[in-house]
Symmetry: C2
Subunit: 381 residues, 2 copies
Amino acid sequence: MIDPPTESTETHPGEIGLVRWKDYVHTGAFTFESGEKIPGFTLRYETYGKLNPQKDNAILICHALSGDHHCAGIHNLNDKKQGWWNNMIGPGKPIDTNKYFIICSNCLGGCQGSTGPKSINPETGNPYNMDFPLVSIRDMVRSQYLLLREGLGVESIYAVIGGSMGGMQVLQWGIDYPDFVRKLIPMATTARQNAQAIAFNEVGRLAVMQDPEWQNGAYGDGKGPNVGLAVARMMAHITYLSDAGLEEKFGRDKVKPNEARSQFDAEFQVESYLRYQGQSFISRFDANSYLYLTKALDRFDLFGESGQLEDRVKAIRARTLVVAFKSDWLFPPAQNRAIVHALLRCGCEASYAELDLTLGHDSFLVNAPDLYQLVHNFLNA
Amino acid sequence: MIDPPTESTETHPGEIGLVRWKDYVHTGAFTFESGEKIPGFTLRYETYGKLNPQKDNAILICHALSGDHHCAGIHNLNDKKQGWWNNMIGPGKPIDTNKYFIICSNCLGGCQGSTGPKSINPETGNPYNMDFPLVSIRDMVRSQYLLLREGLGVESIYAVIGGSMGGMQVLQWGIDYPDFVRKLIPMATTARQNAQAIAFNEVGRLAVMQDPEWQNGAYGDGKGPNVGLAVARMMAHITYLSDAGLEEKFGRDKVKPNEARSQFDAEFQVESYLRYQGQSFISRFDANSYLYLTKALDRFDLFGESGQLEDRVKAIRARTLVVAFKSDWLFPPAQNRAIVHALLRCGCEASYAELDLTLGHDSFLVNAPDLYQLVHNFLNA
């Protein structure tokens, strides 16, 4: 099923302005890496800019765990919240909508419009919940491929770009569709989850699954393990930042005295900030999706059985720029460098940049001219 | 009330062997730093070795958040679990029971026999629960002072030694009782909790307080927010270790296939290990104590209003050896160095050692000859 690209409307010079999402509905069965099947799926996506007549200017953006398809522009004129990478994507910006046709879809297994655990299983009329198949990074990439090929008629991609879980997808894209993609920019990512990252995800999952409201995943609409999901999110959020970044932003600053009603209410600003992060997350994220997506992260392992990263990345034909951040302790520079080293050992064209931004893992999202220049130059080289 | 020192019995050469705990019961009112009072308190403690006639060979050990008074020896001949610092304390060991009289007490606010939230308030006949006063590191130290002076008749301490929360107490000892203590060894500690450490504690507290079984702290005996407390402990436990240490110990090793009954059961060894840590913690720790003790950590701030660490540590007269661990990211070396620098700027006698152990924050607990030698030499210099 083919949807025309979403048209964007410039409301302010230099900004994408109004955008609308679309749904790609794949009506054939989809078999997961695990061997399990669903009878079809939907990917919600947005596009910005125009596909050129040669159909060779498409750029795919892959979002991180808690991200979605809305990576640039606004949804209505009163919308104060722009897409999550609006600073990076737009007319004249590093990922230039005047030049490129940009696509971003909510990932398979997600909960922002794409098919995931909370979607209705057409065979039962009920939500999949925990009957949803285990989704892998590879499954996410294949569903995106179907969107691009069958949904948008794109015959090749100029670049795939993304950070964190998005970066894993970028690598998987290069491996699974080597002739379809010309450039890759994985950022703040890893070729496999290490023990510490798995450990944090596991604690988050247990917080969700042990919340009595989880109900083995069969909580109803508007209900759910909100307490557990908020705890999981708050903990994860700490891992996306950095010691120095938190110290710079909050230090030991206190909330206003009248805001703390008891001695165990939020006393420090950082506590208040985290509570807000937890609460806002539960209003937009499905707890079962959180389980499935974190599991996809934990199972991601390009080293594979052989323990040789080269065995996987040698398939890559695209030019690759890996971007790491010194303050990222979730997927630290060494894990990013390992990708570049493996690519170089395989004779692939790969570059590495390590930026000294202080925000930690989430540095790929911040306003950083150094990062903009890297992305701009690599795309236009 | 004076209890005679616990006698220890050597069952094996080189080991302390059987030890018994005792209770020091302070019958007078105790006023907390907050101004709140309790009518009296108990500290549970153990001692090893003998106080010499000059009464100048006492060493006080201060335990960390989840530790207790049982730091060496065994409680019965079938006891397979030795005290938490048995590798460090014993005949001929770095903290030598042939030479020193060693004391360790469960901290005020704790739950292993000392007065804390789950103790009975004699004025109501019910547990204090959340009516227990906010306890500070300073309150813990003052209650230890009363144990030593009034309970054990000790007139001075040769050394105070402890890691993490114990290290905070060590510093506070030097500041509050400068003429009572000759040597200090704070390890893996900080002069103030920074934003990241507060953030992790806050998420742990919320996991506890939002567990429906918490009941505003008034859960009954044998009940409680076990789910929340286990989540808090699992998360905290990750922060006590290190990326490299976890990778070395677990990597991506999987549990045996038949141990995982569903796709979200523990799949990786690190998950199984953390689940065990969480479960064993709830059997020995009180959830309200966890709230109070983490709050004491978060409020600890020797920089104070002035922002000048020197203003506090200039009171210290003891010779101080600060020990930090390169892989400790909870209280990283820089935070330990800051203590030494402030001491040196004040003209105090201070040394610093930074050990390259890989276990992270908990490195002070491991079998490490370098650490043993440091402690031994500093005590016997």
